[in-house]
């Protein structure tokens, strides 16, 4: 395993009101892993991603990407938000949404051209959505909308991908299609960090895992730390799951 650290989080503390949502998180994510962030509802999984990406302002702590502050490394990072975070009745097409992935590299004012369109079409092809490129986004199924979001992140051609519950509300076919793309990304040396809910699939999908419940419980290779001990620490005493077949 490569020892380079892709994402480093130091002393991160986040609170919406008085109660902290994240407390003193230290986290090092090595390059090239496919990592799940697991934890119960309200554990701060989405908050962790949003704070790393600067969408939320932490009370304390810092984030670095490849040893430099996140603000200077934005172009190395892509984000797939929760599907439910946007209004899918917005008047636009699938291709148009994917093109938005090129806006960051374009910068202010400059419009996307042929080059950007070509990249967007390639990303649509990768997620199997090319036939739907001109479809109004409200007429896509939940799984298709998720693929569009994934394609938008792929267009960014980043090194590190943050995904907030990409498997939520999608059918089995889409789930397999998405995980295959994520595995391909890892194979290409990219780092992929996924907020994940389904504990049963963690050993099958991921090679790295972080247990989170306001505090960081554990982080490391799935084969070493994905055990009843850590699950109980994260989810509570009465929680038991059979993890290994």
């Amino acid at each position: 395993m490569e020892n380079k650290i892709a994402v480093k989080v130091d002393d991160l503390t986040v609170a919406y009101n008085y109660k902290p949502v994240l407390w003193d998180i230290d986290l090092e994510i090595p390059e090239g892993v496919l990592m799940a962030i697991v934890g119960p509802n309200g554990a701060g999984k989405s908050t962790l991603i949003k704070s790393i990406l600067g969408i939320l302002k932490p009370i304390a702590g810092s984030v670095s990407i490849y040893d430099k502050p996140y603000e200077k490394q934005r172009q190395l990072v892509a984000y797939v938000p929760q599907k439910g975070s946007v209004d899918w009745d917005f008047p636009t097409t699938a291709l148009d949404v994917v093109m938005m992935g090129t806006y960051g590299s374009l910068g202010w004012v400059k419009r996307p051209g042929q080059k950007q369109k070509k990249a967007a079409l390639e990303a649509l092809e990768k997620v199997g959505m090319l036939p739907f490129k001109n479809r109004q986004i409200s007429q896509l199924s939940g799984g298709q909308q998720q693929r569009i979001f994934l394609a938008r992140a792929l267009v960014q051609n980043a090194s590190i991908y943050f995904m907030d519950e990409p498997f939520q509300g999608v059918d089995a076919t889409t789930e397999i299609a998405i995980i295959n793309i994520l595995k391909e990304l890892r194979k290409a040396g990219k780092t992929v960090i996924v907020v994940h809910h389904d504990l049963q699939t963690v050993p099958e999908y991921f090679d790295w895992v972080t247990f989170l419940n306001v505090k960081k419980i554990a982080t490391g290779p799935v084969k070493d730390i994905f055990n009843d001990d850590n699950l109980t620490k994260t989810y509570g005493i009465n929680y038991k799951v059979s993890i290994q077949e």
Binding site: L53, T92, Y103
Partner: protein, 375 residues
């Protein structure tokens, strides 16, 4: 007055020309910016802004003693912006929801504005008459200089819109994501909001504080019904807004004593009503028609499939059966049977029906299709 005469008058009469041009430009710019307000689900923001502008008008008058519209609208702009950013502050700093914050600021500013207006009316200053026209607007007071002002603002607005089109669009769709791409979302947000405030303030003289938000929302809501593209929506909203202004002015000018602002708003509402009903993809009418048609098709398919199942056990597919046995099946009605007859799928003979060769083919195709779908 007939139409040609009126049109001639629009081009020759100073007042009518000014009002027509002014309301058309106003409709276009509010329609354009209204699209953004509607898509951001900030429809009520327009209402809050226009009401928040009232105390600014009164204070500007109290300070300068002049009734010059530019001075008063400058006051309106300042207090409108103040109200808007106050609302944003309340939403981000407290637990109040946006509707509460909007309602709070709207009534607070409007109440204060009304207080100032009544205070001004009690003053011995003869100049004070007519400030209350800003409540419901009075298009007849529009001057050529006002129209110039509107044109310049609309021009600037259009320029900024085209320049930052990509940024506006992505912010409207997905603000968090926009932030991760490195855009200063606060700047884009403030830019859009400021232009919305500016457009509203421009319309206060013509349409008034109370009805102004309709100018912002109605053309945009109507435009949304006709298209699934943001650029077309903004363009259509501008067109609808402009036509509302022109038609509204025409109606109020030809029917004596009808106040222009309310008529414009009603015309804009007619656009909305028409669009909600008659839009081909989103309109109620075609939705209902599609719904009924789908139901009928399904009924037809079910009846045919049922017949197919009965017929399958016979060697002769056209073996006649009693209509009575169809009664066991709920999807059956006399009209579906009639339709199947007219399609040549079924022949009727007294109380007996029999499937034709054609009907059998159609039914078996249907059957295979359904099996495919189930897989």
């Amino acid at each position: 007055m007939d139409i040609t005469e009126y049109i001639k008058l629009v081009f020759t009469d100073y007042t009518l020309r000014t009002i027509t041009l002014g309301t058309a430009i106003l409709g276009a710019v509010t329609g354009m910016l209204g699209s953004f307000a509607v898509l951001r689900k900030q429809s009520l923001l327009g209402d809050a802004i226009s009401h928040a502008a009232l105390p600014g008008i009164a204070i500007a008058f109290l300070l300068t003693g002049a009734k010059d519209s530019n001075t008063l609208l400058l006051g309106a702009l300042v207090s409108g912006l103040l109200g808007t950013f106050w609302i944003r502050g309340i939403i981000s700093k407290t637990h109040l929801k946006s509707d509460t914050a909007l309602g709070l600021i709207l009534s607070l500013f409007f109440g204060f504005g009304m207080l100032l207006l009544t205070f001004i009316q009690k003053q011995p200053n003869a100049n004070q008459a007519g400030l209350d026209k800003y409540l419901f607007g009075q298009a007849a007071t529009l001057l050529e200089s006002d129209v110039w002002m509107m044109s310049i603002v609309t021009g600037i607005c259009l320029f900024v819109l085209l320049l930052f089109w990509k940024e506006f669009k992505i912010l409207l769709f997905d603000a968090d994501y926009t932030k991760t791409l490195g855009f200063n979302t606060k700047f884009i947000d403030v830019l859009i909001t400021s232009f919305i405030v500016l457009a509203i303030v421009l319309g206060l003289q013509t349409v008034g504080v109370v009805l102004m938000s309709a100018m912002l929302l109605a053309p945009a809501a109507a435009a949304r019904q006709w298209t699934n593209s943001l650029s077309v929506m903004v363009f259509l909203a501008a067109i609808f807004g402009a036509f509302s202004g022109v038609f509204g002015t025409a109606i109020s000018a030809t029917q004596n004593n009808l106040s222009t602002g309310p008529v414009i708003v009603i015309v804009a509402s007619v656009f909305v009503l028409f669009s909600f009903i008659f839009s081909p993809s989103r309109g109620l009418l075609f939705k209902q028609i599609r719904f009924i048609k789908n139901r009928r098709d399904l009924q037809l398919h079910k009846t045919l499939a049922f017949m197919y199942n009965i017929v399958e056990s016979h060697e002769n597919i056209s073996h006649p059966h009693a209509i009575k046995i169809l009664n066991n099946f709920q999807g059956y009605t006399k009209s579906t049977l009639q339709k199947l007859v007219s399609k040549n799928y079924v022949t009727l003979d007294g109380g007996m029906w029999s499937l034709t060769e054609e009907g059998f083919q159609a039914a078996s195709n249907l059957y295979n299709q359904q099996n495919d779908n189930n897989e």
